[in-house]
């Protein structure tokens, strides 16, 4: 479908009218600058729109941000004081504009429920989330891609069916249940991994944060027992989260691969006498890399904010839990800060994958 569109677009592009041919090409630097400016405008508008949507939706929630701070047993005087401190008496538009004004100067406000500046909270939480998502991504890619490709190559065989069942089970069994069962087996019975948090309690606070990524920091500081404990804590939630994404990655890899395997160049290559492995990995796989990259980028973004349940089961101090808790307690600064972060990450992933497309696919250069 997309290919057909491209082809028709290309065809129509080749039938230039006289006027268009007379068009003088601008300086290449101007093109780059204009593109860059366009992109910056697009990013800022996207983030602003995202903020506005989130902000308005937050106002529709029934939760009371004052009670989130004070608890339900509070006198009228205290309630009013906190209400005014939060600026809730002002019109919504004024509240929104003053928020945006502060964000522009780098001030994301203070969380009503943790008492910390949002930026401090995010700096502590974000590395934990990225760390988990990276592990999950590695697992998802290492299992999902080979699984999908094998299924495509062995289409219709037992292997294909087993691959489908394995993948779909990961997606359809509630991740909450998978998490608890995995804890039961690997933590309670086999005692191979840790149960909650990023590290065992007796290793808490031993590592001075440099990057905030516990695996990296503990390795850099040479605290290998902390590293091992951290690895033991991240591997289970990471693997389960990864397994969850295996379904999507493997099904997509399979269909991309099937499309390639039916192309004539594959038949030609086989006819030339090339081995099956070479044909699959050297020829077909190269051609699906760009598509796979898109899938991975989307999955990674989804893992960042979509890991709420697994974060809850494993007591993982991550972005998903932070955002959900903010929503439940109507802590708008938290919600906006988290949404802004996720939005920024998605945009960054988009830009990065654009760059990678150019490297991987000569046609886009």
């Amino acid at each position: 479908m997309a290919n057909a569109d491209l082809v028709s677009k290309r065809n129509s592009d080749t039938t230039f009218s006289e006027e268009e041919v007379a068009y003088v090409a601008p300086h290449p630097l101007a093109i780059i600058l204009r593109r860059l400016a366009g992109r910056v405008v697009a990013i800022v508008t996207t983030l602003l729109g995202l903020l506005f949507l989130t902000f308005s939706m937050g106002r529709l929630l029934p939760a009371d941000p004052v009670l989130a701070i004070t608890g339900p047993e509070v006198s009228k005087e205290v309630y009013d004081r906190v209400y005014n401190e939060l600026g809730l008496g002002q019109p919504i538009l004024v509240q929104f504009l003053s928020y945006v004004g502060r964000v522009a100067t780098g001030d994301l406000g203070t969380s009503a429920t943790t008492g910390q500046p949002i930026l401090t909270d995010l700096l502590a939480i974000f590395p934990a989330t990225i760390e988990l998502a990276v592990i999950a991504m590695i697992v998802g890619a290492l299992v999902g891609v080979p699984l999908g490709i094998t299924a495509a190559v062995r289409r219709g065989t037992v292997i294909d069916h087993v691959a489908r069942i394995v993948a779909l089970a990961g997606h359809s069994i509630p991740i909450f249940w998978t998490g608890l069962m995995a804890l039961f087996v690997f933590y309670a019975k086999l005692q191979l991994v840790g149960a909650s948090g990023r590290v065992d309690v007796f290793y808490e606070g031993l590592v001075t944060p440099i990057t905030g990524f516990l695996l990296i920091d503990s390795a850099v500081e040479g605290q290998w027992d902390v590293f091992q404990s951290a690895l033991g804590h991240i591997i289970l939630p990471g693997a389960i989260l990864g397994y969850y994404s295996v379904a999507y990655i493997s099904r997509m890899s399979r269909s991309f691969m099937l499309e390639q395997l039916s192309q004539e160049y594959i038949v030609t290559a086989r006819a030339k006498g090339l081995g099956r492995r070479k044909v699959v990995w050297r020829h077909a796989f190269r051609n699906i890399r760009v598509q796979l990259l898109t899938i991975m980028a989307l999955t990674f973004g989804g893992l960042l904010e979509g890991a709420v349940l697994i974060e809850t089961v494993f007591g993982w101090p991550g972005l998903g839990q932070y955002l959900t808790r903010g929503l439940q307690m109507n802590d708008m600064n938290v919600v906006m800060g988290a949404v802004l972060t996720i939005g920024a990450v998605f945009l960054t992933i988009n830009i990065l994958s654009d760059v990678l497309y150019r490297i991987l696919d000569p046609r886009t250069r």
Binding site: P62, D64, G115, G197, V201, L231
Partner: protein, 528 residues
């Protein structure tokens, strides 16, 4: 390429296997699995919720304390003795001379006076307990004062039972802070509020070592504590929001004390010989609130019908097993003026409820919207909905967080639970029986009777009297009278259960006693 991938995977799995099997938590360290959600600050003046009260009570000493097994007798803490002037206007407390803050500064009467003044001046949640007695930011400096280095005088602005005042001094919000240290961290006239949110400056048996909101709080023992060094060198409170996970960690020995477990997990743990479940009674109830702004619910017979429309016995053995016991009096069990027995004042009787509805003018039943106060009370609301349907009450259950709506009287029928910390029926009475102004403009959302939209002058007078009266015998009579008025008027807050808070402990843990007023202390905790 595939071979490389496989090699990487093999290496990774080797690393996992190399992870040594986890040992139980060390013998001199107490690990508490709890829920740290919503703790915005560790400043005593800004708190009164349950979990944070426990954390604060171990960082700061109070002037006096109540032991968990005797909520009537005040015991010394920073104050070694106290006396009340003959006219009952002034309480004098003598402070011990060997207490020091974690900074090394000695604890003086000036610190104590300033701590109380600070709570009132900041006017945050912590002031709720003590502002009741008439202290204001304007009068507190004059009324709460250090007479000399060791003597603190508290003058009462209006006649109040002095026991009530002394009880309130044992609350976690009135922890004594180190004036010099806190003031050195003051910013923009906040009386050190911002700094104290993540630091400690107390004389308690523990000092705050690390605080990450929604994640972990770590406390180190103060070896020089005046009451002797605690046996636990370190206490860790860890955020474990998932009950199933917490249960596994308790069973494995990684967690010593578990709080906020779900009833299914409590059931399973109750069969485990290595576990002890301490079901601590709380000063609050599970109730059905009937909004008196609704003309149907205003009718006494309709309110009475609700008393017989809830099959509470059916849930007392399962979902309610660890969170409450049947109790239908507004005076909590065991307190002065409480009835000996109040577990079966209302029976589930659908036929009677139907008849009452018919007498009230609803022969075909009544339809209302039912809200739980929050996620925690949803199962009870579901049970109510099912049994009320049989009784001709068609309750349309809408789940969500409805405490805010309840406070603004924007609901029809609500199922909720309450809590209080002052160990005297007066605290509960202000919630359930007090409403001096029933107008919408008054916005007295802290009084449940206002939330229910009813004002009863006789009850108001009784609550006032119970605050002022000094004679315990007379107070007992006042509370008895209150109970009989309340139960005779088909109250719009229909009480079914008194709340309990379950604490699960590994049996090796000794000396950990969940406190009814939430000031659970770790000083005497040991592990075998």
């Amino acid at each position: 390429m595939l071979r490389n991938l496989l090699a990487t995977a093999a290496m990774a799995s080797a690393l996992i296997v190399a992870q040594p099997s986890l040992a139980a938590s060390p013998p001199n360290m107490l690990v508490i699995g709890t829920n740290l959600t919503g703790i915005r600050t560790l400043d005593p003046a800004q708190n009164n919720a349950r979990t944070v009260s426990e954390l604060i009570s171990n960082l700061y000493d109070n002037l006096v304390q109540l032991s968990p097994d005797d909520l009537k007798t005040l015991k010394p803490m920073l104050a070694t003795k106290w006396s009340v002037s003959d006219d009952a206007k002034v309480i004098s407390l003598t402070l011990r001379d060997d207490a020091v803050f974690q900074s090394g500064n000695p604890v003086t009467a000036e610190d104590a006076a300033w701590s109380i003044q600070r709570v009132i001046k900041m006017g945050q949640v912590g002031s709720t307990d003590i502002a009741l007695w008439g202290f204001t930011p304007d009068n507190v400096e004059k009324l709460v004062r250090a007479k000399d280095e060791r003597t603190l005088e508290i003058e009462l602005p209006r006649p109040v039972n002095t026991d009530l005042v002394l009880y309130s001094l044992a609350g976690s919000s009135i922890g004594i802070v180190d004036k010099k240290t806190v003031l050195s961290h003051e910013a923009n006239g906040d009386l050190g509020g911002a700094w104290l949110s993540a630091n400690s400056a107390g004389s308690g048996p523990f000092a705050l070592a690390q605080w990450r909101p929604n994640d972990v709080a770590i406390f180190n023992a103060q070896k020089a504590y005046w009451g002797g060094a605690p046996a636990m060198a370190r206490v860790v409170a860890r955020h474990i929001p998932e009950s199933g996970n917490l249960r596994l960690q308790l069973e494995a020995g990684d967690v010593d004390v578990g709080q906020y477990l779900a009833s299914g997990d409590l059931d399973a743990l109750s069969n485990n010989k290595e576990m002890v479940i301490d079901n601590v009674p709380g000063l609050g109830f599970y109730y059905i609130a009937l909004n008196q702004k609704d003309p149907d619910l205003q009718k006494p017979k309709v309110r009475e019908a609700f008393q017989h429309a809830f099959d509470w016995k059916a849930i007392s053995g399962n979902i309610m097993r660890y969170t409450g016991f049947p109790w239908q009096s507004m005076i909590p069990r065991g307190m002065i003026g409480a009835p000996d027995e109040a577990a079966s004042r209302y029976d589930y009787d659908p036929a009677k409820a139907k008849q009452l509805l018919a007498e009230a003018g609803y022969p075909n039943g009544l339809k209302k919207v039912l809200n739980p106060s929050g996620a925690a009370t949803l199962p009870f609301a579901e049970a109510l909905q099912a049994s009320a349907r049989v009784a001709g009450l068609d309750l349309d259950l809408v789940p969500g967080e409805f405490t805010p709506a309840f406070r603004e009287r924007k609901y029809e029928v609500l199922l909720g639970n309450s809590g209080a910390r002052l160990p005297d029926p007066f605290a509960v009475a202000t919630q359930y029986a007090y409403n001096p102004d029933n107008s919408d403009e008054a916005r007295l959302g802290s009084y449940y009777l206002w939330r229910a939209g009813m004002k009863v002058d006789e009850l108001n007078t009784l609550v006032d009297q119970s605050m002022k009266e000094r004679d315990t015998g007379k107070r007992t009579e006042i509370f008895k009278k209150m109970d009989s008025v309340y139960s005779g008027m088909d109250a719009p807050l229909v009480i079914f259960f008194q709340r309990t808070d379950p604490y699960v402990m590994r049996s090796a843990v000794k000396g950990y006693h969940g406190h009814t007023t939430w000031s659970t202390r770790w000083h005497d905790v040991t592990k075998e």
